[in-house]
């Protein structure tokens, strides 16, 4: 009777995962509504106090930092990732294509801690970047990258690049080459052809890459924690600090929950905006 006899078997792991996620999510919701008992790991009675605590400036600043980090990381990742993806799809030589793929994917294989430590070495006051800039006489004094927004963004761009390059490359590879050839035959040079055909047709890919990059950066923890060094607080680093330095699980839970809702809201607003734009374009 069943046309796809293995479907149940294939689906069962996902049911298990869904169950796990739902359970932990409910646990977080439950924790977020409980009072913190100082000195105890067990929560107290039900309360909404955790959420009112979140209205304090320090948490607001963390939200703002997180959004700024996401924004700048996404902007720079797109600016670097688009040309990389384009070259990867269009390069004639297979060796060049493979090299680009390899270079853009390595951050995935490095592991978060190794990658972030490498960046600490590069970004330090006596690190590779400052040493090079001073050697080249471009600057007199080292620029502060460590424990600054700039440093965190640089490292996060590296962290986000692989996923963005892969998504943009997928989008670009679906653009029919004949469209560019048609534009060229109609008199469009390379730049015009890119601006009027390739770029507009890759917008869906850019949109997808932007949302993903945003969510990806939003959840980053080790990079802002180690390179920000407590000076650049984000929602994730704050959750860690509240939960595992102060052992205030209920507050950490409510912070996580608000962070999650916040991400969903930001992505929803973004997607609605894009759909509006598309509808305007269609008429």
């Amino acid at each position: 009777m069943n046309k796809r006899p293995f479907l149940g078997w294939f689906a069962s792991p996902s049911i298990l995962i869904a169950f796990g996620i739902t359970a932990s999510f409910l646990a977080i919701v439950q924790y977020s509504l409980r009072a913190h008992v100082p000195g105890s790991l067990d929560p107290g009675g039900f309360t909404l106090e955790n959420f009112t605590t979140l209205l304090k400036a320090v948490y607001g600043q963390a939200f703002l930092n997180t959004v700024l980090l996401c924004f700048w990381t996404t902007v720079f990742t797109l600016l670097i990732g688009y040309p990389l993806a384009y070259a990867m799809i269009r390069a004639k030589s297979l060796a060049l294509r493979s090299a680009i793929l390899l270079i853009s994917l390595t951050p995935l294989f490095l592991g978060e801690i190794v990658r972030t430590y490498s960046w600490m070495i590069v970004l330090g006051n006596r690190g590779f970047l400052n040493a090079s800039l001073i050697q080249l006489d471009l600057i007199d004094r080292p620029i502060d990258f460590m424990f600054t927004m700039t440093g965190v963004v640089i490292a996060l761009v590296h962290f986000t690049l692989p996923i963005v390059v892969v998504m943009l490359a997928a989008a670009l590879s679906h653009i029919d080459r004949n469209l560019e050839r048609a534009a060229t035959s109609l008199g469009a040079g390379r730049v015009r052809c890119f601006l009027t055909v390739t770029l507009p047709l890759s917008i869906p890919g850019i949109v997808a890459a932007t949302s993903t990059s945003f969510a990806w950066t939003f959840s980053a923890f080790a990079t802002p924690q180690m390179i920000g060094g407590g000076k650049v607080q984000t929602i994730s680093t704050l959750v860690y600090q509240v939960g595992f330095a102060s052992f205030n699980f209920p507050l950490a839970a409510s912070l996580s929950l608000v962070g999650l809702l916040f991400t969903i809201a930001v992505l929803a607003i973004f997607n609605t905006g894009i759909r509006r734009l598309e509808q305007m374009g269609a008429h």
Binding site: D176, N178, A182, A183, S185, L186, G187, L201, A282
Partner: protein, 374 residues
């Protein structure tokens, strides 16, 4: 060579040949896509590249358009050497097999694209786009998006977009292969009308021999990266110069024959137990020995089985075709054991009937045996 007033833009010298391909070859790694090819296309001519898939037709178009660089040889457009000219400066109109309409632009924007790149004034652009849409009967669809149009309408937009820039040459790569049969016939007529009205030099690519025969002024038949014969449709159909052309264009009966000796008019052959003195149109004949004799179905006539000079055969199958019947004969003299000919429906015979087959003196051709030198 004459100098006509320019249609628009800088003045051009108009030579006799709209396109000249001079010993151009192209390989992709180890794959030879095109052997060195020589081809001259006259101004205003409708030339078709006909050949099976993979024979290098698209490669020739891409070389003319400038999307590919030739390994060797030169390409001239209007007697101007364009081998080094980038594609966007070649002023060539192209219609792609999949139309390649810009999906994010309206019909009008698609057609206007080539005028905007030329920085033509807004007023003139409007007029010319309207004219082009009139030409392909799409006035009422100007504001639609490509995906809101049928296949045939998209085809017309592609044509209008290529024509509106007044190209020096129009290239079409299997433009009708995605259309159903009725629409294809209608579009063939329409394209042919527009082409002759504008006197537009056109290179048309197809693998469909019927389409090639009905539309072209000249046909270049290609196989495996080289041109096997160039000529008018009549020349190609009536006087194929080699075995490939004879079988690719139209139906062919191929007999195993023995070339006994060459004569003043042609050759004396032994075929199916009789001898045949052939008047040939061919430039070269193979050497005496085993050869292939090529005869069109309509050149064979049925006779009584015992008629002197006739080849014996047995009716295997008769297929009713409406206007006529196709008679398939078992014939030992044929290379594949079968011969096909067309007869009026009333003269169809039952399977198993013994018949004779008479071959004419004029019309058939002699080719070297398959696998031997051609």
């Amino acid at each position: 060579m004459s100098t006509d007033p320019p249609a628009d833009g800088p003045s051009r010298t108009l030579g006799k040949h709209a396109v000249k391909i001079d010993g151009v070859s192209k390989s992709f790694g180890k794959t030879v896509a095109l052997e060195p090819v020589w081809l001259k296309i006259r101004r205003g001519e409708f030339l078709t590249l006909l050949g099976p898939s993979g024979c290098g037709k698209t490669t020739i178009l891409n070389l003319i358009a400038g999307f590919l660089e030739a390994d060797k040889g030169e390409i001239f457009i209007d007697d101007e050497l364009v081998t080094q000219v980038p594609p966007h400066q070649r002023e060539i109109g192209i219609v792609f097999q999949n139309y390649a309409l810009f999906p994010h632009m309206s019909v009008t924007q698609n057609v206007a694209y080539g005028l905007r790149t030329r920085r033509i004034s807004k007023a003139e652009t409007e007029t010319r786009v309207r004219e082009a849409l009139d030409l392909v009967k799409l006035q009422d669809f100007a504001d639609r998006r490509p995906k809101q149009l049928s296949g045939g309408q998209q085809q017309r937009v592609a044509l209008a977009r290529a024509l509106v820039i007044r190209p020096r040459v129009l290239l079409l790569d299997e433009p009708f292969s995605a259309l159903d049969r009725n629409l294809r016939t209608a579009m063939q007529v329409e394209l042919k009308e527009i082409q002759s009205r504008l006197g537009l030099t056109t290179v048309f690519v197809t693998h469909d021999q019927t389409e090639a025969l009905s539309m072209s002024e000249r046909i270049a038949v290609m196989s495996r990266g080289s041109i096997r014969q160039i000529g008018t449709p009549t020349e190609i159909y009536d006087h194929p110069q080699n075995r490939f052309v004879s079988t690719f264009v139209g139906d062919a009966n191929l007999f195993s024959a023995d070339l006994l000796r060459k004569t003043a008019q042609g050759a004396r052959l032994g075929v199916g137990g009789t001898t045949l003195d052939l008047d040939t149109y061919q430039d070269d004949l193979p050497d005496p020995g085993p050869v292939t004799l090529f005869v069109r179905p309509e050149q064979c006539t049925l006779t009584a089985p015992d008629q002197p000079g006739a080849i014996t055969a047995t009716v295997a199958l008769s297929v009713y075709q409406g206007s006529h019947a196709e008679l398939h004969l078992d014939c030992p003299a044929s290379e594949d054991g079968r011969v096909m000919l067309r007869v009026p429906c009333g003269e169809a015979q039952d399977a198993g009937t013994k018949v004779g087959l008479a071959l004419p003196q004029r019309g058939p051709a002699i080719y070297a045996k398959e696998g031997g030198p051609e």
